[in-house]
Symmetry: C2
Subunit: 405 residues, 2 copies
């Protein structure tokens, strides 16, 4: 499932240059890219201080000569990392597009303050497995760094139940709740992503070095918007929280006290139109105050088990915005499939295709692919043939009416 | 605050006879009483098997000769108890009328199954203080008999915060959550009611005998629909749960697991249009499953502190149904008073009246009366004169416009 190292060509060097020069998301750079400006031309223009770049010249004034693109890419390659860009098939376009399209639409009326900061990442530094596959079915779990035994237990319980259904757990790699979630996933051979607020050559926090390295090496990934050598700073954590929320279908907070960073992540999830969830806890300590506050205000659904998380995510997460109402009247088994089931079904054909090929074609992890194929087989839509799968022959399920198949 | 022993006259003996003969609430008896039939005439008719009583003859067939009215009243008087009837000023008419009127209106669409059992109590056996005063500002707290340390701690925390604001805590006197709530109230010198499912000559459970006796002796009350000697039976507990809910402005459940009796009390509260509340707990044990379920389904508001309980009760509990919309446009400080503040304000006049007299006139406990008088004084509506209170002289607050006073 690991990704082949992409070539360090001129274009990727341009992206790497932009990553270091902008140091995080930039509204101006996003506007240029949205207007189909070429990243190489933008990088060139910044180096040469070309006037058409306007405000960007001021923004890059102190760093435009810091051209370490090739070195950064080489440094990352040496530790098994790479820079993933919107050019790459690995780019997690689905969750990011959904998130930033929603934020830009202004539908989130309570969170207008987040709107102006809702700038998508330009490129992502990654160590580990294919990012798009990992994010195809992902939920974030975040919470207090100073978690109680209860909080850690709850994080493990929720993570375990989600891993069993092939959900990727996204978190921040921090102590406490983050660590409890990541560790449970590793123990169960599941997939997890730690989104970092620093360069991936120096995973943070240091005392979690072994856990973070293991995540990168065992079917998971470390992800960051920041180039090698970048140190964790307060503003980067807030930017990082936005990325955790954007890459997930929903966010679960556990033991978020007042002013916890986890609440910031949850607010981002709301701003992105993702499912917001909070785990309750004892009222006799202050550690779940933030969770209770969000539940009470209706800003998060209360969840007490992984099953409840999955039910909430299934309700909306699988259905693209706009399609919701039509889906209610879906008539055939195929039309009733979840988004990821549909991806796998569409990858199958009349002749058997090996599982790993299907996973690749659909852009999903092997684990999730097998899980979905078994579900499709149960519904009589695909048939197994050794290690390969093909569509069920008859009756053509697209013709079968609901309730009959 | 204790109530003078009412006379054991013919009429009270008729009520006591009916209490024993019907053994709990009866729809037929309620209908007769609603049609202004005299209880003495009904008792007489039952004794003489008069045909106008219809179905009631069959219903009372096995017990109509069991005429122990005078003995029951004497037994109760010997232990400081009495039978309180709708004839008495002590009858808690406000909470009961509101509850059973709401239930009869059929407004509670999810709880139609409760409607046919929603028969008001005909009379109540009481040991302790004035029942109407105790119920003027009362909330029930119920939960698991097998409470965890967490559950007991939570019950004490919520009870303490409510007692500090002169709320009476109603519960069932059982082990676990009930005991934690009652005990905390006693320790703080507050007022509490234990509603029993048996005769008050044998408080149940026996191991709580000391606590229950103390409740009756220290400004609280034991209450039951059942005559002396009645044993606790399963159906009586369900009937009792309805009474706990009916006497309160709202019900809080703490550590209600699946199929907990506390959930039955909460459903009654909903059927009566009272405020339904549940305290969350750890998701890592099963003990709060029922609480979480009710919160998730929207059948109970999540509450994490006594302040939240009070806020929810203030929102609706103080305002009579039908007056809600008018109240929003209230213009003067007096019009903005809570129901209980209004009761005290109406009891005051241009000349000083002693606090205990005001409490008696308003039908509130001394503690709550002082609390409300201080609040009215802060609003400039009453003035203190030694141990007595009078209305503030000028300007006449009924003329003062909102925001000016």
């Amino acid at each position: 499932m690991t990704n082949p190292q992409p070539p360090i060509d001129e274009r990727r060097q341009a992206w790497a240059y932009l990553s270091r020069v902008f140091e995080g998301p930039s509204r101006e750079l996003t506007n240029l890219l949205n207007n189909r400006r070429d990243p190489e031309a933008i990088a060139q223009g910044i180096r040469r201080r070309e006037s058409w770049l306007g405000d960007i010249l001021a923004r890059t004034h102190t760093r435009y000569q810091d051209d370490r693109a090739k070195a950064d890419l080489t440094t990352m390659a040496a530790i098994g990392g790479r820079l993933v860009t919107p050019d790459d098939p690995e780019w997690p376009a689905e969750p990011l597009d959904a998130a930033f399209r929603f934020a830009a639409s202004g539908k989130s009326d309570t969170l207008r303050s987040y709107q102006e900061d809702a700038v998508p990442p330009h490129a992502l530094w990654v160590r580990g497995s294919n990012l798009r596959q990992l994010c195809a079915q992902a939920v974030s779990i975040v919470g207090s760094r100073a978690a109680s035994n209860y909080g850690s237990h709850a994080a493990r319980l929720i993570s375990a139940g989600l891993i069993d259904h092939h959900w990727t757990i996204i978190s921040g790699g921090a102590f406490g709740i983050d660590s409890a979630a990541h560790t449970e996933v590793l123990a169960r051979g599941g997939t997890t992503i730690a989104v970092q607020a620093c360069g991936l050559d120096r995973p943070y926090p240091r005392r979690n070095h072994d856990m973070l390295t293991t995540i990168a090496q065992h079917n998971g990934a470390l992800v960051s918007e920041y180039p090698p050598g970048a140190t964790p700073q307060r503003h980067r954590f807030l930017t990082r929280n936005r990325l955790i929320a954007a890459l997930s279908s929903g966010t679960v907070i556990i033991e978020a006290a007042w002013r916890s960073g986890a609440l910031n992540t949850l607010s981002w999830a709301a701003a992105f139109g993702k499912i917001t969830m909070a785990v309750p806890g004892p009222i006799t300590t202050a550690q779940s105050l933030g969770c209770h506050e969000r539940i009470r205000n209706g800003d998060a659904a209360m969840v007490c088990s992984a099953d409840e998380v999955r039910q909430l995510l299934a309700k909306i997460g699988d259905i693209d915005v706009g399609e919701q109402y039509e889906m209610q009247f879906a008539a055939t088994p195929v039309q009733k499939l979840s988004r990821n089931e549909m991806r796998i079904y569409d990858a199958t054909g009349p002749r058997p295709i090996p599982t790993d090929q299907l996973a690749h074609d659909a852009g999903l992890t092997i684990g999730l692919t097998v899980h979905l194929l078994l579900s499709l087989a149960q519904q009589g839509l695909v048939e197994r043939n050794g290690n390969a799968w093909q569509r069920a022959v008859s009756p053509d399920p697209r013709e079968v009416h609901a309730g009959v198949g």
